[in-house]
Amino acid sequence: MEQVTSSLAPPRAPASNKSGPASSSQSGAGSVAKRLGNELMTLMMSSSPGISAFPKTDSNLFDWMGTIEGASGTVYAGLAFRISIHFPPNYPYVAPTIKFETPCYHPNVDINSGTICLDILQDKWSAVYSVQTILISLQSLLGEPNNASPLNSDAAAIWNNPESFKAQLMRHYRPLKDDSA
């Protein structure tokens, strides 16, 4: 790729050769922004029920705010959770950092910090994953927790008792304020 760029560039004066590495890093940041814009477009065009995500500000594409609604038929049905997504500069080769902003009582979510224990967000990350696939994974994680490696052991202990789990869930849950994420 670098060879292609250099071959495409017109003959330059020797003084401007210094800007070569800088322009390549800029094109790297530009390709990440391009991919994030592509993902945002894909997410808005697709009709995935119960998931949405947008950049927090128009100026910074690397910080997003998303919403996940619990799937019907699970204890999380009817509840909505806000999550924050931060993309590293070398995305998509490195996974984004995702946290629950709304307190979520779940075996694989830390109730205080909102940290999520999900393999595809850590060692199983792949460059082909996107925001949409992450949100869908999280939505399914709500209904099907991995109780083998719990981050919230209390929640894992009462998972099999849906009534007491629901009571604990509702005790911690805070409804979303109706502002745009």
């Binding site: 790729m1 017109p10 094109s27 390709s31 080769y93 460059a127 082909v128 996107s130």
Partner: protein
Amino acid sequence: MNALTYVDAPDQNLVCCICRMPFVDPCTNQTCSHTFCRQCIIQSLAHSPQCPIDRSFLRIEDIHSADPIIRSLVDELVVKCSNEPAGCSYTCQRQLLESHIKNDCLYVLVPCPAGGCAEEVLRKDQVGHLCSHTSVTCEDCETSVRYNELEMHRSTCLKRFYRCEDCETEQACSSRAAHASCCHAAQVRCPQEHHGCPWEGRRKDVSSHTTTCSYEAIKGFFAIQDAQKANLVNENTLLKQKAETLESQLRVAQYELRCVQSALGPWSRIPTSRSMSVLPPSSQLPTPLQHNRTSPSLSYMPPGDQASITQYFPDISFDDSQARSISSAEDQRVPERPNFPHSTQSISSRVSFGGASIQNWQSTGSLPIGSGSRPSQNVVAPLNLNTTLEGSLEGLRESIVTLSTSLDSLGRRSDIALTNETLRLNEEVTSLRVALHGLRMQVHTIMMDRNAQVTGQGPGFDPLFIQGDIQWLPNRSHMQNPPHNSITKL
């Protein structure tokens, strides 16, 4: 190249799953036959040695260029020129873009054609455009100057001439300003123009005009006048400032005066000419005070205020002449006061009525003592509004002191009189008791005689006779009372 903009939405089969754009230099894994951009899969393998799609183990040696048919499909996608933001609207197949940018695109930077210039210009500006680095030749002095410095050079070029409109001679551009100030044919006005000379003519005629100009003749006078006028203007400004300061001070003084007047009430008046001399020199200003200064005896208050003062002191007749006479001679004052409630006349009249109330007794008792000390019967000092407030207050204070001493002596005199009277009454009661006792003895003797007669005549008792005897008894006592009355009247 991955930042290119594609004209049509690309076929999803030709999109790399890592960068989400059509393949650039596509490569296919030999192990799992997935295709990526070469740059994308190399970067991904740097993070983890596995295929991003199926997580199968993958090394960089397993990557080979994709089939020529895939390469052709992506190379023939129509893209916009990468200089589109700069203004190029050219679109072509992706594989042809390189030659377009290299040879044709007008919006790429190329070295400046002018020799010795290190800067770059857009290709479209290269031909037929006089950039700042182009050298041009001055048509007058035939020296080579830079294009952007040509205007500046023209104004200073030594070999460039212009035609003066006044003297119709050729003059160098570089000395245009100098020539304009000394051109003999230029239109100028008289040097005394600002004093009113209407003359206007060519500069060479000025000297002949000044010999006849009447304004020029009195030039010295004008100079003196101008200097004096400037002095007067300065002085006027100073005086204006001074007057403003004085006016503000006057306003403050007037306000303070009103405050003092309202505080003084009826005593507020213009001081006499003697006290006016105490006033500070600033009173030379035309203040309202000065109007009354010529007539110091005139009261500052309007007549209506005097009437209101008499309401405060209704018992005192407010007459200047009377007040003056009171203050001058104290002895004459008492007879002149008809309203004085404790005058000797009223006391004597009350005694002649002979009322039985205790108060009258006290007043009659005090009479022989009080009549001998008339000067101590001081009254409330009349309010003399012709004096100052201090004088009036002083007089009132003295009156109060006098009144308190009078009241004190009066109380003491009353005590003495009461004691005397009580003693006298005691004596009188004693004498009365003695007289009554003698009378009772007489009556007893008479009754005894009567009883002896009745018992001597018989046991019958005539009640009518006794009744008449009883009726008679008070008459007898009445007959003996006159001595008591005479004592009482003593």
